[in-house]
Symmetry: C2
Subunit: 290 residues, 2 copies
């Protein structure tokens, strides 16, 4: 299927319940976290204070409303968003948590969604990986048809409200030292999906507090080939780990997509990341009346 609208419709109608990996190539795919409104502001701050591992693409505007997102320009397909997006149904599959424990995996979260639910869409690494492929620097995990290995680190997140004490999770891809500057340049513009690496080289293991590069905390081990060194990126598992670590302070249920079952957006990578068309906005405030 070629576009986001078709994939979301298939997910909503129960025709698609598996992975979206490799579907609708060139379109942005997003991770999901749904929280009760009482902790949503803290989560928004956590992401704003840690944008590299926690790049928020959009959030629902009003607690309980599963249709309207801000910013709206991620959803280009239709003028009438209410007919297009229903965040309770448009992922192929969802995980439901309570007190940090997985309660169920479901094809929709209509029964779990409440008047206080707020949804966050978070960027994923598919975008910069396809850019690396196009440049002839295919990530090893793509070559092997796997996920990349992921590691918890000692790199502290800037705390926000109930979210304290969490650290960054990173993904790792091996590259030759002479390719690292190009890898940095190619991934740099992808600011909404982790951007350039956070660390590289064998020294990075010490810098990030990673003991053994062959013992990832998430995902499978990968292969190093001649002369390659590890290159680490901020990873979207970070906000999930931070939310789970704060589970005792979150009243009610937390929902997320089932890993691999992403929301496929209408906007393409070229539209979101065309380097000449982008301008970085500083951590921003909307000032009322100005």
């Amino acid at each position: 299927m070629a576009n986001g609208l078709a994939l979301r419709k298939a997910a909503r109608e129960g025709q698609l319940s598996g992975t979206t990996t490799g579907q609708a190539p060139g379109h942005i795919q997003a991770n999901l976290i749904v929280l009760p409104a009482v902790v949503a502001r803290d989560f928004e701050l956590l992401a704003a204070r840690n944008p590299v591992p926690c790049p928020v693409l959009a959030k629902t505007k009003i607690p309980g409303d599963p249709h309207s997102f801000a910013p709206a320009n991620l959803f280009l397909h239709s003028k009438d968003l209410s007919t297009v997006i229903d965040i309770r149904t448009d992922h192929p599959a969802y995980n439901v948590y309570e007190n940090g424990k997985l309660l169920a995996t479901k094809s929709d979260i209509k029964d779990e969604w409440t008047d206080s639910s707020v949804a966050f869409l978070i960027g994923c690494s598919f975008s910069f990986e396809s850019a690396l492929c196009k440049a002839g620097l295919t990530p090893r995990n793509i070559d092997l048809g796997r996920n990349p290995p992921m590691f918890t680190t000692s790199s502290r997140l800037n705390p926000a409200g109930i979210f304290t004490g969490a650290t960054m999770v990173v993904s790792m891809r091996p590259y030759r030292p002479e390719d690292i500057e190009r890898v940095r340049e190619i991934t740099r513009p992808y600011v909404k999906t982790h951007g350039e690496p956070v660390a590289w080289g064998w020294n990075a293991l010490d810098e990030l507090g990673i003991r053994d590069v062959n013992k990832p905390d998430f995902g499978p081990v990968t292969e190093f080939r001649d002369g390659e060194v590890p290159v680490f990126w901020g990873c979207g598992v970070t906000p999930q780990v931070a939310v789970m670590a704060a589970a005792e302070k979150i009243p009610g249920k937390v929902m997320s997509h089932k890993p691999g079952s992403m929301l496929v957006l209408d906007i393409t990578e070229d539209q979101l990341f065309a380097a000449e068309n982008t301008s970085i906005q500083p951590l921003g405030l909307v000032i009322n009346g100005h």
Copy 2:
């Protein structure tokens, strides 16, 4: 003098060359960094990837133009910005650096400003300090009429372009453990001026790699009173240290304000930070045509 316009005019006309501390109470004051355009994008990315220690309030829109800033809503006083702000003259005093070395301290930088100069305004801690005073939690450094002690840490910044290997600088203020949640709440909304603390308690020394709380890297030692523990905030010295560390990769001169000689803005703290009027924007991209 009561407002930003009057203070900037006095600075421009050579009537004010000292500190702006305590002047125009309630108005936002900003730190300055001026870089050549060729490295400005990397600096903008460094700040966007590390918004807690490097909160960019605004930047000049076009290299070489010292008048027009984005976002423009920080400068409310006049519709015609070109008559109001000249970033080359409107700080009371400037430092000029080359290859990481201080060349001169001057009352304006008209001679140093070039067609490729880009200016960044960076938030400072005055705003949250006055909020703490109002709440009866006056920071010790204000009590003592000093700067707070500042420390380099082992907390790595997310690298961006030429800016690699830098770590966060933090400021420290002592508080009683039972006051820390209130201190966090009071400073949390000040997202443009470092926001809530990054770490607190005696364990934070280990977490941040600080050896001796009585040996600050910048600023004077402070006093602990009965039962107080250290509370650490991201500090605006961080971007200066990162720029100095990359000095060899920066062609030409770097300018900054002389410490204490800030740009006083027209906007007030109440306008910028009124909690009910603010909405956090995720690390943003402007998408062309949408």
